[in-house]
Amino acid sequence: MTANSSSLATSLVQSVDWLAVAPPTIAALTGLAVLVADLFLSERGKRLLGWGAIAGLALASLSLLPLLDGDRSTFCLTTGAHACSYTADTFALVIQFLVLGGALLTALLSFSALDDLKLPAGEFWFLLLSSAAGAALLPAARDLATLVIALEVASLPAFALVGLRRGDRLSSEAALKFFLSSVTATAVMLLGVSFVYAATGSLHLSRIAGALTHVDPRLDTLAQAGVVLTLVGFAFKTAAVPFHFWVPDTYVGAPVPVAAYLSVVGKAVGFSGLILVTVLAFPAYADVWGPAVAVLAALTMTAGNAAALRQRPERAFSAVRLLAWSSVAQAGYLLVPIAAAGYADSAKDASRAIGSTVAYALTYAAVNLGAFAVAALVARTSPANRLTDYRGLYAARPAAALALGFFLLCLAGLPPGIIGLFAKVTVFSAAVDAGLGWLAVVMALNVVMALYYYLQWTAVLFRAPEHSAAAESVPGGTAEPVPAAGAAVARPRAVPLTAAIGLTAVIGIALSGAPQLVLRFASGTLL
């Protein structure tokens, strides 16, 4: 009798594995705490909010540690086949680490931007933490409803973050553009999800995968349409062509740390969702999405690099714009192994291909955040952030210039950015292994094309500073550097920003020395 009632109780009241859901939960709770604390803190105490947010993100990252011992699932169905909505497997943990670490670095970048741009601190930290919580939830989500919710939780605060610069026309325009295109993509994706649900009768990824193998022939078209439309939403988040037009304007309009956040965490959200639906839910339709993703990857990297090559260095915000286009191109490389997974013969091969994406994403996250961090540092003294402003950076700030040079070479995939090189090699070999020779060739051409702008920027860092030439030509030119230097002194030293640059540089160098740290994901099984 008692045994019977207890089993009834477990079937009605689920026992939640709080440890497993801790990472996103801690981030979300910290966000709420920061929002409430903002109400009670004086203007001077608001700096504490940032440190609170960082502590929350650090705690959330630490909460990943106890989960390393094995896969955990929670929010499972209590009846019928075993299917869970939340699974903390290796893939989820790695992406959660990426997302939380990325948010942590963004938080470090944001301190000086908050001061310089007079952004509202409480709202900023709350929005950042909420978005990070959504992004951390997404890789562990194992049903379409949770996925969509996580995606929206990650995105909605991001719109507000982009538009946070009050009274700035560029900022509001960027936010509006971002919002409109994102909402359209979400609507399309929801339509796709509903089609898939109609065809399979389930929202759980594992059950969809099973049901799609024997779809009613009359519903086959519906299911195919559903698969393609669902991918659209994630393709938007990864900023894949043709859903990439929002990227440059949004990055330029947003505060630099937010642009950094979007380029790393926003993309991580997109591609991890894409991986989950393609590999876990739609393996039966690999012949549909495999070629589609391959074409998408080729177009994305080519369009991104072509646009980056066309950037004029003297244009305002050209540095951020270049990083924006380069991030579009990098998204193309990230998509290559996902396409390769569509051509894989076995689940194991698919998982290895996915591992290449994860390894690449981790590398990209560290070095891209580093590059944005240096851009944020330069933005403090030259707000226009043109590429020409980087001329002679080595003379003014040798450490920052060396770090940026290293990050750019990592992005380009050249020594001493060894990790960038080998991450590209894994992606390349994933394409070759899957028999996607043409995609490998397209990628190779793109890597060569991208060298030009990365190298040019790197070379600019070490040129002789421009003001010495200006001083010769303009009689009053000598007066020009003085206020610039004065401004640099007047601003408080950006300790967190420096810490972020240092941290990303250390990560990049450590990975270059021991690439196996991330590349092991490319040989192991993740999902």
Binding site: A359, S429, L451
Partner: protein, 545 residues
């Protein structure tokens, strides 16, 4: 010698300069401060390169000369299991001479720099870059893993870029940018070829791939991969028509940069051809050999003609030396540029030797490699010294209307320059002779399956190239070393020529090893050929063991 000791020596030769490079950037510890930070760091450079040279010589002494075809002093440690990339080091008869040459030239450069401080930013960075350069070049001759080879290959570019960009002469920024763009694009293309070989062949290990003789690769794969690798290496070598970065880079580079660029960096290209293309993609090497040889011969003729044009007096000088030169931007008749073009010609002989695919030709190529490193290194040192003394490397400005009369004004310097020029034109009895002769011998009887008439033509053209080389080198000697010594009204200064300081003690120290080795290699070529020949036979027949 003990195997472990050999292993350690080789590893030390690669790692020590790297550590030394990092240490150069740190403040000197107490007790090693010397007479100020600049002197301390320059001395640090001499010490580190000296220790590396000692290690290289000890390695050569302990090398088992009875089995030069065997890979010796091997170290093989896993680095990135995910991609099966291993830290695999080793030397055989092909790489050992290059290794020693690199260590020697870098040491001489450090020694030269110690007494003759480069004009430019702090010597601290200079020494750090020099050591980084040494580490990269030594690594590229010592590694036996394709990916590591690429890394080492790339590692060299960055310090060289900065050496040209920061310490160079006129037009240095443009020249440095051109250098990095050409060589980088070349090596990225090479990377694609290496990746193709590695991914299709199933391993990146150079020894294993050489033993496979390309059996793991389909014919098409071989053709594509070899083409990419050859293009990449040909930029570095440099092969006509991919050479156009070289004259600018040499003209702009500081003396030490020029010496290392010509003496060591160019060798990496031809070494790669011998080590990678010949054994790993033999079928493709066979297909491309005639074209490679054709380009090589064009390079020989083109290089010598360009030199001849530079060596002969330009018509503007008769008007007014100083004035006319300023508008021709100094590039015309520049001695450094001339030696750079002569490198294109000499490397053409090396490429021709490799393209014959015969042991004779490849041995000749490797010999010419070393000889060119010694002789051109010496010539760049001499021209650098000349520039320090007279302020210019422009032949027209130096020579005036009758000649620079170096024999009279600085007899030892003049004598050395004449020696270098004569060695460079391939006088029998000096190092320059054997390599080029063997390369032409190889072309006389190329490997089976290669068109003999074509190679006979190439040989004849290469012979014409040697004549042209002799012509321009003798013109240079005549215009620089000979001439009227008394007061010369045509120099633009109006006054008599100032006496030039003759060779200093430290210059003797830096140059005499090169002179001695040039003579030694010329009189006793068997010392070098005995090392390379078995290794080459093995490489052509199916890889090292």
């Amino acid at each position: 010698m003990n195997h472990t000791v050999q292993q350690l020596l080789l590893a030390a030769a690669v790692v020590l300069p790297l550590l030394g490079s990092a240490a150069a950037l740190l403040p000197a510890p107490p007790g090693l401060r010397g007479r100020g930070p600049d002197q301390a760091v320059l001395r640090h450079g001499v010490t580190v390169t000296g220790v590396v040279l000692a290690a290289a010589i000890a390695l050569a002494a302990g090398f088992d000369h009875d089995h030069p075809a065997r890979m010796q002093a091997q170290t093989d440690i896993g680095w990135i299991p995910a991609l099966d990339i291993r830290v695999h080091l080793g030397v055989d008869g092909v790489s050992l001479p290059l290794l020693v040459l690199t260590a020697l030239l870098t040491f001489l450069c450090a020694l030269y720099t110690y007494f003759n401080r480069p004009s430019g930013p702090s010597p601290k960075a200079f020494v750090a870059l020099l050591l980084l350069l040494e580490s990269g070049t030594l690594a590229s001759f010592a590694v036996l893993d394709l990916m590591l080879f690429f890394l080492a290959f790339e590692m060299v570019l960055i310090p060289m870029y900065f050496l040209i960009n920061r310490w160079g002469g006129a037009e240095r920024e443009r020249a440095a940018w051109r250098f990095i763009l050409y060589t980088l694009l070349g090596s990225v293309v090479m990377l694609l070829g290496l990746l193709l070989v590695g991914l299709e062949g199933g391993t990146f290990d150079m020894v294993a791939l050489a033993t496979d003789k390309g059996s793991g690769l389909s014919h098409t794969t071989q053709l594509i991969a070899a083409l990419a690798i050859i293009v990449g290496l040909a930029v570095k070598a440099p092969m006509w028509p991919l050479h156009s970065w070289l004259p600018d880079a040499h003209t702009a580079a500081p003396t030490v940069g020029s010496v290392l660029l010509a003496g060591v960096l160019l060798k990496m290209g031809t070494y790669g051809l011998v080590r990678i293309v010949l054994p790993m993609t033999p079928e493709a090497a066979h297909t491309y050999a005639p074209y490679l040889a054709a380009f090589a011969v064009v390079g020989i003729i083109y290089g010598s003609l360009a030199c001849l044009a530079l060596a002969l007096p330009s018509p503007t000088t008769t008007l007014n030396g100083g004035f006319a030169l300023s508008e021709s931007t100094g590039a015309k008749g520049d001695l450094k540029r001339l030696i750079a073009y002569s490198s294109v010609g000499h490397m053409g002989f090396v490429l021709l030797g490799i393209a014959t695919l015969t042991p004779t030709g490849v041995n000749g190529a490797l010999f010419a490699n070393i000889a060119h490193g010694l002789i051109t290194g010496l010539l760049f040192f001499l021209v650098g010294a000349l520039k320090d003394r007279s302020g210019t490397t422009d032949l027209d400005q130096l020579a005036g209307t009758s000649g620079a009369a170096l024999y009279g004004r600085a007899p030892r310097l003049g004598g050395l320059l004449a020696f270098g020029a004569v060695a460079s034109l391939g006088l029998p009895g000096l190092a320059g002779f054997w390599g080029e002769m063997l390369a032409m011998f190889g072309a006389f009887d190329p490997a089976d399956g290669l068109s003999r008439p074509a190679f006979l033509t190439y040989m004849a053209l290469a012979g014409v190239g040697t004549l042209l080389t002799a012509a321009y080198m003798l013109v240079v000697v005549r215009r620089v070393c000979m001439g009227d010594q008394p007061i010369e009204p045509g120099t633009g200064t109006g006054a008599g020529r100032p006496a030039l300081a003759d060779v200093h003690g430290h210059e003797f120290a830096a140059w005499s090893p090169l002179v001695a080795l040039t003579v030694l290699a010329g009189l006793w070529p068997a010392a070098l050929l005995g090392l390379t020949d078995p290794a080459v036979q093995q490489l052509l027949a199916g890889g090292n063991r």
